[in-house]
Symmetry: C2
Subunit: 134 residues, 2 copies
DNA sequence: AACAATTCCTACCAATTTACTATGATTAGT
DNA sequence: ACTAATCATAGTAAATTGGTAGGAATTGTT
């Protein structure tokens, strides 16, 4: 039950954007790659996921780049991880029908565990993490 | 962050052993395989992990089989999952040094998330799950 | 209008991991 | 001795992960 590198990297990227957040300036891929250590091409893919989740906004063209869509106070770690980790869900049968009938004894358990995890992750904001106040 | 099939199957197996638990009788691989739907050879490997964790005990030879090492009331879902899911740990750097210095901003987060998950899983006993009282 | 700097999109790929299968040794009751 | 069972370990096909690669689209600057 490991977090993927996308999830880990996504969090670093989000934290970096949180540190540099001032409401207007954007940070480009090259700079983000240097501060986070994630290769540019891979970083592009990860940040795209956050963009689709409307956590970050992008501006294209010369002087383009990324910034958080909102204050780091208003973005939770849970939002970030759900955006980049395509299956934060612990088991497949969580939504929709169980493929395997046998899974049903445990389904409630997985469901509550999932709620538990997200409940925790949603209490922590990017600012908290950026300022190491956790 | 999916649970492995070992974790899911391990839980079914443990629940089945909980249902059949009476302190003395053992259940063999063939029977367990039929009730859980896990193939015999794979099941052998999974139950071996639980044996090494002293959650189940085995008796070999004719009329051999497995039983829980203790009452289902005294075995938690967390114990079972930690036994069969070799890396329930969410990130590698949780124990020992971070390989990547950059991971450190998040390390506290992963550590607390891990505690949170286990804290929850340890509150649920095999009996609760077997009787669907969760 | 041309150019350069940037994001965006999507296909591809090697290495690792997963989810088993297979083989045979060991143990113990009859 | 025979048979029913666990135990140990090696092998393997398929899926997933963790990227890389190439180029199209957009936008500011000259």
């Amino acid at each position: 039950m490991k977090m993927s590198s996308k999830a880990r990297y996504g969090l670093y990227i989000a934290v970096e954007l949180a540190k540099q957040y001032n409401g207007s300036d954007v940070v480009n891929v090259t700079a983000l790659s240097q501060t986070t250590g994630v290769t540019e091409k891979y970083l592009e893919q990860i940040v795209a996921l956050m963009k689709h989740a409307r956590i970050v906004v992008a501006s294209r063209g010369v002087n383009g780049g990324y910034k958080l869509a909102d204050s780091p106070d208003n973005i939770s770690v849970g939002q970030v991880l759900r955006a980049v980790e395509d299956n934060l869900e612990i088991v497949d049968c969580l939504h929709g029908e169980c493929v395997n009938r046998r899974e049903c004894v445990a389904r409630n358990l997985w469901s509550k565990l999932y709620d538990n995890i997200n409940g925790y992750l949603d209490t922590i904001s990017l600012r908290q993490l950026a300022e190491d106040k956790i």
